[in-house]
């Protein structure tokens, strides 16, 4: 059980090396890294020069832990790690890391995708983009709601 919300960057290699080290029943580790895209804005308001991720301290950790507990109920996971940053980040910077370990690859893949889908719709983070036209709060995307809905049992 590991969920971290932090301002500083994370080292994917170091996180992965420490992740379920020495557990020889793990056959599959899936991971996801989300990065700041320079072309992220959808409204044609120009390239994104940076973004600031705001969060709700306390509730964010609480929701991430709830999402992680849910993933562990759905799949036989040996370990899970979620690291999510907040604060100002420039294009190319890492925002989020999800790692899942299981005996078999399908459980690791599915749990990793599930964690990202639910995190996108439940974890209290908000993106403020810096564009040539000024700051702009990113709108939630219906496609993210649809992605989360496919897992069913959304009690949020």
């Amino acid at each position: 059980m590991a969920v971290r919300v932090q301002r500083e960057d994370f080292d994917v290699g170091a996180e992965m090396a420490a992740f379920c080290a020495g557990d020889t029943s793990v056959g599959a580790v899936a991971s996801f890294v989300g990065l700041v895209r320079a072309d992220k804005t959808a409204e044609g308001s120009g390239a994104v020069s940076a973004m600031t991720l705001e969060h709700y301290p306390g509730m964010t950790e609480r929701q991430l832990e709830a999402i992680e507990a849910d993933a562990r109920e759905r799949w036989p996971l040996h370990d899970v790690l979620v690291v999510h940053r907040y604060g100002r980040m420039e294009p190319g910077e890492r925002i989020v890391l999800v790692l899942t370990a299981s005996s078999h690859r399908q459980a690791a893949f599915d749990a990793c995708a599930f964690l990202m889908d639910w995190l996108k719709t439940k974890a209290p983070f908000w993106k403020l983009e810096e564009t040539p036209n000024g700051g702009r709060w990113v709108d939630a995307r219906e496609s993210d709601d649809a992605a989360a809905a496919r897992w069913g049992g959304d009690e949020g």
Binding site: L53, E54, K120, A123, F125
Partner: protein, 84 residues
Amino acid sequence: MKILYFAWLRDTIGTGHEDVSPPAGTVATVGDLIAWLKDQSPAHAKALVDTDRLRFAVNQDYAKPDTPVKAGDEIAFFPPVTGG
């Protein structure tokens, strides 16, 4: 009650947190609280006008308009989340 605002709600209202004490008997639910807050200033009214665009939490759990609230609770208002 401790009220928190995030993202564009904070920008619109002009503060990220405020302590409020609605008169006894006026606010029993999140919905009551929204109605009461909207009367506090034009900025509040503007930020809270469209509840479809709002999400709220009571004591850091997602809540609904009929979720009960009481003195001492931490109640947060924010837009749909956009992390990840």
